[in-house]
């Protein structure tokens, strides 16, 4: 046990367990609210607890495996799954997942690895850099879009600039997807599938880009995109989870603790989408993502030092880690707290409004 704990897995205290459950809950709230998965909060949260990045990713994708299965079945029942689109995306996604897991596994064995001393620092750095790079772009895009539409007259709905750009491109051959009722270039589908699989395998945020890509780039209706993404994730995320399991990089204890908090969190977050304006959803989503990015960026100097790429006093490491953890919790708790307040307010307002239903008799004329 001690050697196991020292090399790959952390010792989980009661306090750690509670924190992971809380991470699951907050991640679930954000996931249900934004519909883009809560890995952007849960993965760095576990890393801040001392979990190696690659194990955090592996445990997180394993946690999503069960949720995806149930969510996708529900969507399929409502006819919100375009299986043809999912199948087209799945092939490149599976290839990319395998590549991503292989890269993570190799990096994990570099510099220390199972032998101790800066274990997994290369992998942690790699995951953090991908996380910061991708989510900075996504966060800024969403936030700018939300802020712009907030002040414009045509306030609702996502920006169409990306879709407009893509619709102007002529990239034959095209394939028609019947449920979504869209015709998309095969090359674009392959590209998105590869990106989705790579991000799912690397940072477990494939779903995070999958839904926006389907809506913004393919023009898939918003009712179909999440269902199709979940269906896809059932296979892509499942393969990622099993691949990490094969490499010995899934901590099932963390998976179970995340599940304990996330399922109730997803319920709260999903309810929140019904009572909060869309522009606020995007504002919260963009803000939380950018704060998570800042949090992860604060941890990068530590990994750089562990790899001897920069040098600074080792005593500063706890400060970086502390600041990163604090920022992450500010982001997660702030976002989830805001959603919870809105949910409670809406629930109370709804009760009041039900009591004061208006029945007026205007003069006919």
């Amino acid at each position: 046990m001690p050697e196991l704990l020292g090399s790959v897995f952390i010792h989980v205290t009661w306090a750690d367990a509670l924190v992971v459950v809380a991470l699951g809950f907050v991640g679930g709230v954000l996931s249900g609210f934004t519909g883009s998965g809560g890995a952007f909060f849960m993965t760095p949260g576990m890393m801040n607890l001392g979990v190696t990045g690659v194990v955090a990713v592996g445990s997180n994708v394993a946690h999503r495996m069960g949720n995806n299965l149930m969510g996708s079945l529900k969507h399929a029942k409502l006819g919100n799954v375009d299986t043809k689109l999912a199948a087209w995306l799945l092939v490149p996604a599976l290839v990319a997942v395998r590549v991503a897991v292989w890269i993570n596994g190799k990096l994990f064995q570099l510099k220390g690895g199972h032998e101790g001393g800066g274990e997994g620092a290369a992998s942690n750095l790699y995951i953090s850099v991908v996380f910061v790079g991708v989510l900075t772009a996504v966060g800024i895009f969403i936030l700018r879009d939300a802020l712009r539409s907030r002040h414009s007259h045509d306030a609702e709905g996502p920006s169409m600039r990306a879709a407009n750009f893509v619709s102007r491109l002529r990239l034959p051959p095209y394939v028609y997807f019947p449920v979504a009722d869209v015709k998309v270039s095969v090359w674009l589908v392959l590209l998105v599938g590869l990106a989705l699989g790579y991000l799912d395998g690397t940072v477990a945020i494939g779903g995070f880009i999958g839904v926006p890509a389907m809506i913004y780039l393919f023009g898939v209706p918003t009712s179909v995109a999440p269902g199709t993404e979940l269906f896809l994730a059932m296979f892509g995320g499942g393969l990622a989870a099993l691949s990490y399991g094969y490499q010995g990089l899934v901590d099932i204890r963390l998976t179970l603790l995340l599940l304990l908090g996330s399922i109730i969190g997803v319920f709260v977050g999903t309810y929140g989408t019904k009572v909060v304006r869309e522009v606020l959803i995007r504002l919260v989503m963009g803000s939380v993502i950018l704060l998570c990015v800042v949090s992860r960026a604060l941890a990068i100097p530590v990994y750089l030092r562990q790899l001897d790429l920069v040098s600074f006093d080792r005593r500063l490491e706890p400060w970086f880690n502390g600041a990163s953890t604090a920022m992450l919790f500010v982001a997660g708790l702030g976002g989830a707290g805001l959603i919870l307040v809105q949910v409670v307010k809406a629930r109370l307002a709804q009760r009041r409004l039900h009591e004061t239903l208006r029945v007026t008799r205007p003069a006919a004329g």
């Binding site: 099993l242 010995g248 205007p362």
Partner: protein
């Protein structure tokens, strides 16, 4: 006399046919250009809307509200013109604008291609090759537009009553033939079809008024109308619009009552007769309270022709005017009046419960019932109660089951027999046992994992894993979904217990 919708593609001769037909019959003529002009006056940029829908598919969700408004303007324009007298309308998909209205003759014109091309060359000054490409392009754009606006294929011939193929018939002869068809009794207005059109007009006018007012212009409102009662439902996050709705709609002609309901979603309850009180009503109210839903009543009379629904429903306290049809007509009249009164009372009950989503009646085939379900309203559940009351019990059960299945196949929402609603809401001993069992299993799973961490970690990443890596795969494949299913089971049972699901 009917409203005649002539539908065709540009340069196809449809416009000439429609004008000729109007002239022959002495009807008024209205075209899509008139609708577009009025839409633009109402602040709906139809040109931009068309381009956005056709060229930017991602815009669909964003432009849905604008589409609703365009449809409202189109409906109001046609209904108002038709109210002045007989009408021929020419457009690309006018036949889809007044679904469920009986006195409508829907004509599709298939053009003669070479003549169409000649006309296109003459008017656009393009060479034949480029004109042909231009025609292909606009045809594709029109198909996309019709699919987006109406959700059906323009070429679906089942949506038309008559198809004129100009390859085999001159425009003049086609117009002459249509004059005879328009005179058939099948397309004459009935009290029911007139009433249905009045409702469409009232609903469309309410929608336009709300869209034009800056205070409600950006709100997602659902507008329904029945027998002069306009029901507006609004989302909880747009509660600020509630006080201004009565103010905006107070001068709406023909509106005798206005009801506003806050609702996160909608439940559609289909039944042949509604009686206030009873266990099912209590269950539906409970469901509406839990979900924050508006309940819309749809009274379905499968054994009656559409024309039977001539009388205003909630006001049917006295005897309904009805032609003598022999037999036990007095009894029938009394029964119908009682049923109408009960339906009105049921609507009032829902109003007082704060969850009324309006109500209306439809008679005829199941296809007519399906057409009466508003596709623009977002329903979370469709409940099918007691229908086919005139049939024997066994036949009623079978037919209700078939109707439920038919609706489930054609509507993108769960369709549930009302008899099963109680079981879905109830938290009885069986649910207690289920909650206890899943909770115990979940606790046992967590206890086993956390009291045997060394074993599990050995399989997942220790020496045992090095020897048998597939063991870790199997463990993850079994434990992750199992834990998710157990946790979900406990959570859903708890939420149900707390009436929060």
């Amino acid at each position: 006399m009917p409203i005649i919708f002539v539908c065709s593609v540009p340069f196809g001769g449809g416009e000439r046919l429609a004008k000729g037909l109007a002239a022959k019959l002495g009807y008024a003529y209205l075209s899509r250009e008139d609708v577009v002009a009025r839409s633009n006056e109402c602040g709906i940029p139809v040109g931009k809307l068309e381009v956005a829908m056709i060229k930017k598919p991602a815009a669909r969700e964003r432009l849905a509200r604008l589409k609703e408004r365009y449809l409202a303007v189109a409906t109001a324009t046609i209904c108002e013109k038709a109210a002045e007298g007989d009408l021929v309308y020419y457009g690309r998909a006018g036949h889809l604008l007044l679904p469920g209205i009986g006195h409508v003759l829907r004509v599709r014109v298939i053009p003669e291609y070479s003549q169409r091309l000649d006309t296109a060359v003459q008017r656009t000054k393009l060479n034949r090759e480029r004109a042909a490409a231009f025609l292909d392009e606009i045809d594709a754009d029109i198909r996309t537009w019709v699919q987006f606006v109406h959700g059906v294929q323009m070429d679906d011939l089942q949506k038309y009553d008559f198809v004129v193929n100009l390859e085999h018939m001159s425009i003049e002869n086609a117009a002459a033939a249509l004059c005879g068809i328009a005179d058939l009794p099948d397309f004459r207005p009935t009290p029911a079809s007139r009433r249905a059109m009045d409702e469409r007009l009232l609903q469309a006018r309410a929608r336009i008024k709300l869209a034009l007012d800056p205070r409600t212009a950006d709100a997602d409102l659902t507008v329904r109308s029945n027998e002069g009662v306009v029901t507006i439902t609004y989302m909880p996050n747009q509660a600020s619009v509630a006080p201004v709705i009565p103010e905006i709609l107070c001068a709406l002609p023909e509106c005798r009552e206005l009801r506003c309901t806050v609702a996160s979603t909608n439940v559609l309850w289909i039944q042949e007769e509604f009686q206030p009180g009873g266990a099912l009503l209590a269950q539906v109210n409970e469901l509406a309270r839990r979900w924050g839903a508006a309940v819309e009543l749809l009274r379905y009379r499968p054994d009656e022709p559409e024309a039977a629904l001539a009388a205003p429903v909630p006001q049917a306290a006295g005897t309904a005017p009805r032609g003598a049809d022999g037999g036990i007509e007095d009894d029938v009249v009394e029964t119908v009046a009682d049923a109408d009164r009960a339906f009105g009372q049921m609507l009032d009950t829902l109003v007082h419960a704060g969850c009324s989503g309006g109500g209306h009646t439809v008679a005829g085939s199941r296809e007519r019932l399906l057409a009466a379900v508003n596709p623009t309203i977002s329903y979370s559940l469709v409940l099918v109660g007691d229908v086919f009351l005139g049939k024997a019990a066994a036949a009623r059960t079978r037919m209700t089951r078939e109707l439920t299945r038919f609706l489930a196949d054609h509507l993108p929402v769960p369709v549930l027999p009302a008899a099963e609603l109680g079981a879905k809401l109830r938290f009885g001993p069986a649910q207690v046992v289920r909650l206890a069992a899943t909770a115990v299993l979940t606790a046992a799973l967590y206890a086993v994992v956390f009291t045997h961490q060394e074993v599990f970690l050995n399989v997942l990443g220790g020496p045992l894993h090095d020897a048998h890596p597939w063991g870790a795969v199997a463990l993850v494949a079994v434990l992750a979904p199992l834990a998710a299913a157990l946790n979900a089971g406990v959570t859903s049972s708890l939420l149900r217990l707390l009436k929060l699901e």
